[in-house]
Amino acid sequence: MSKNQEFVKFDKVDKSYDGKVLVVKDLNLDIAEGEFVTMLGPSGSGKTTCLMMLAGFETPTNGEIFLDKNPISNIPPHKRGIGMVFQNYALFPHMTVYENLAFPLRVRKTNKDDIEKKVDKALSMVSLSGFENRMPGQLSGGQQQRVAVARALVFDPQVVLMDEPLGALDKNLRESMQYEIKHIHESIGVTVVYVTHDQSEALTMSNRIAVFNDGKVQQLSSPDKLYEEPVNSFVAEFIGENNTFAGEVTNFQKDQCKVKLLNGSEIIANPISVKSNGDKTTVSLRPERALINTGNKMDNNFKGKIEEVIYHGDHTRVRIDLLGNKEFILKVPNSSANMDIKMGNQINVSWNSHDARALDPK
């Protein structure tokens, strides 16, 4: 496969709106052709600004953006050939669905028959055939969103940008739309850059996720790597649930270290971003990696007191006061062996040191 690995390339891009604060700092990001990349982050993290720079509605303060190896900073938005789906759909309210879809083709002076064929194809792709003559106002939110997606794809753009397109939909619809967009991406192989603050959306849909915070990409990797191997405590905290212990490294080795916690006890952890003894660190542990009543098979074994029990059907969430952390969460599978989980009981909790990642201090 000779796919261009740097189809979209952000090269040392800075962006500032007021000349005082950098909204995007030294951004370097490569997106391969046909890839589905999600920019994920809290609001104000600069992800939408990046999207707007790529679309051409904002200019980078410094650095350059390349599309298929061509710098595009000086190309106006309408010449970039980038499709875009907006948060509030941005369908033209005075045009029918057909006219909305035909708009990008008409401005490109496509001939009438081709327009009809392409619009038909795009509408059937989002299973909205037969809705040509409806006005956008007569469609439900989900249908409007599908029209917006079809409109962004109908002129065969090289890249499609999606700016929180599912934000206004209810939960069920959002989930089915996630799959739909994912399937459309897989079937036509267009490069998609997707912006969201919803991590489950990002994990479901993307090939790779760029986690943004404070104007920087914190980590760019595949969904599973992002969840299993976060490289810093922001990512660990932002993606999924996370138990943390703050402490100081005492016994640093290459693949293992001891961390002395604030209450004096020591745990064994996997050194990720700590370098030597005395480093401050936050140890991150996924709730499902901590088990109860396993005997002494794992290298971390501690006793905690159950503070709260929340029944979830297939599993039970248990909040434990463990090693000075009163917010330690456990997910216990629902089985007859675990019937003694009651508030106030003492419980044995253990985990492998490999899963406890010693990251940068918060």
Binding site: P76, H78, M84, F92, F103, P104, A152
Partner: protein, 417 residues
């Protein structure tokens, strides 16, 4: 369900419909009482005056009542030859009655409207009639003045017989009913009203156009600028709106007169020679400038309120889909502002068509409008029925424009705020 289905009863056995009406009656009365003052106000200040105007404009009872016997005896007269003795006799009797009641002056004014020359011959008749002998009034009256022997003058009297007349409306369009009862145009050099109507339409049209051209970018700026600038701009738009109309017009007089600020400035920058200052007031230019400025807010505000609702992402969407900025504006933004354009244009046009103070002050002879003519007849000639007729024609014109607008754009497409 068929009508035979059993009537639904409440638990007390009263039909549900009756019970419902009873329960809602109180609310209905309350609601009506709340609206009643406004209804009364509208009735007294709007519906009645317009009705009165309508009556006044077609009312011709005055002459009918002054010459009751004459018109009765004239019914049989075909108007081809001189009327018979009978007519002369009843006219003499009617006239004597009017002289006694000292109302003959009014008659002569009214008849003079219909045909010039009545005033003097009625005066003469009054003098001579004192010495009339009984019988053979035809001879005696015809002897008073040769015009009394002219059948045209008797036809003119007969024309005033109906209690209602359309003559005021015809006059408003520079037309009249001639002796044969045909509607014809007045001579070319006396057609003043048509010029005024056309000028009114022309000025209203161009003022609307100018307002639109200036207001569109302003409204767009207002709708897109950040709040702190747009508020300031909004005040700039509204400040003149809050100033008295008279003050604004007067300030335009200061600016536009030959020794005024604008002319001084032109001379200063060498655009015009000092001894050749252009006249910018007391002509159409003055009317255009002042009216455009005064009516501008009425265009800006509806446009602004519509533009405010247009999401900026629509323009972005248009551009990202490949539309050049102009195409995107023309295909996406502009169509969405049409409700505002419609509202603004209708508002400005209707206000401009009936504008009075500004053209009266800065318009001069060539810049006055039909409303100035109406005022002239209200105040100077006291021909209120003619003023009413022209007022109603103006109203009809406005309604016609409204109707056309409704056909073209649809009135429910209008957005004022």
């Amino acid at each position: 369900m068929s009508r035979e289905t059993k009537q639904i009863l409440t638990t007390d056995g009263v039909p549900l419909e009756v019970s419902l009406k009873k329960a809602e009656r109180k609310n209905k009365i309350k609601a009506f009482l709340l609206v009643a003052p406004l209804l009364l106000f509208l009735l007294i200040t709007y519906i009645f005056p317009i009705g009165d105007m309508l009556m006044r404009s077609v009312d011709d009872k005055m002459v009918t009542e002054m010459l009751p016997k004459t018109f009765k005896s004239m019914e049989k007269w075909d108007g081809n030859e001189m009327p018979p003795e009978e007519v002369f006799e009843s006219f003499y009797l009617d006239f004597q009655m009017l002289v006694e009641e000292k109302r003959d002056g009014r008659l002569s004014t009214q008849l003079n409207y219909t045909k010039n020359g009545f005033k003097s011959i009625l005066k003469k008749l009054r003098r001579k009639a004192k010495n009339f002998e009984e019988g053979n009034y035809k001879e005696q009256i015809m002897a008073v003045h040769k015009r009394w022997a002219d059948v045209e003058y008797w036809r003119a009297i007969k024309r005033r017989a109906p209690a209602y007349t359309s003559s005021k409306y015809l006059k408003g369009m520079d037309m009249y009913k001639n002796e044969e009862g045909k509607i014809v145009n007045v001579e070319e050099d006396r057609r003043i009203h048509r010029i005024l109507w056309l000028r009114t339409l022309e000025i209203a049209f161009f003022v609307t156009l100018l307002c639109f051209l200036m207001a569109y970018p302003i409204a767009h700026l207002l709708a897109t600028l950040p709040m702190k600038y747009s508020n300031l701009l909004m005040i700039c738009v509204l400040l003149p709106f809050w100033t008295s109309l008279l003050v604004r017009t007067a300030s335009w007089m200061i600016l536009l007169q030959q020794q005024g600020v604008v002319n001084d400035f032109f001379v200063m920058i060498g655009l015009v020679a000092d001894d050749n200052r252009p006249e910018m007031m007391y002509n159409k230019t003055g009317t255009y400038v002042a009216m455009t400025q005064i009516l501008l807010p009425f265009m800006v505000l509806p446009l602004y309120s519509v533009m405010k609702t247009i999401s900026p992402s629509l323009m972005r969407a248009g551009k990202s889909l490949g539309g050049t900025p102009f195409v995107t504006f023309w295909k996406v933004y502009f169509p969405l502002t049409i409700p505002g354009i419609g509202a603004g244009c209708l508002l400005v046009f209707i206000l401009a068509i009936g504008y009075y103070i500004t053209p009266a002050l800065v318009g001069g002879a060539s810049g006055t409008l039909i409303s100035n003519q109406i005022a002239f007849h209200m105040k100077s000639t006291l021909d209120w029925s003619f003023a009413s007729a022209m007022g109603l024609m103006l109203l009809a014109g406005v309604l016609a424009i409204y109707w056309i607008y409704n056909k073209l754009v649809g009135i429910d497409n209008i957005k004022l705020g």
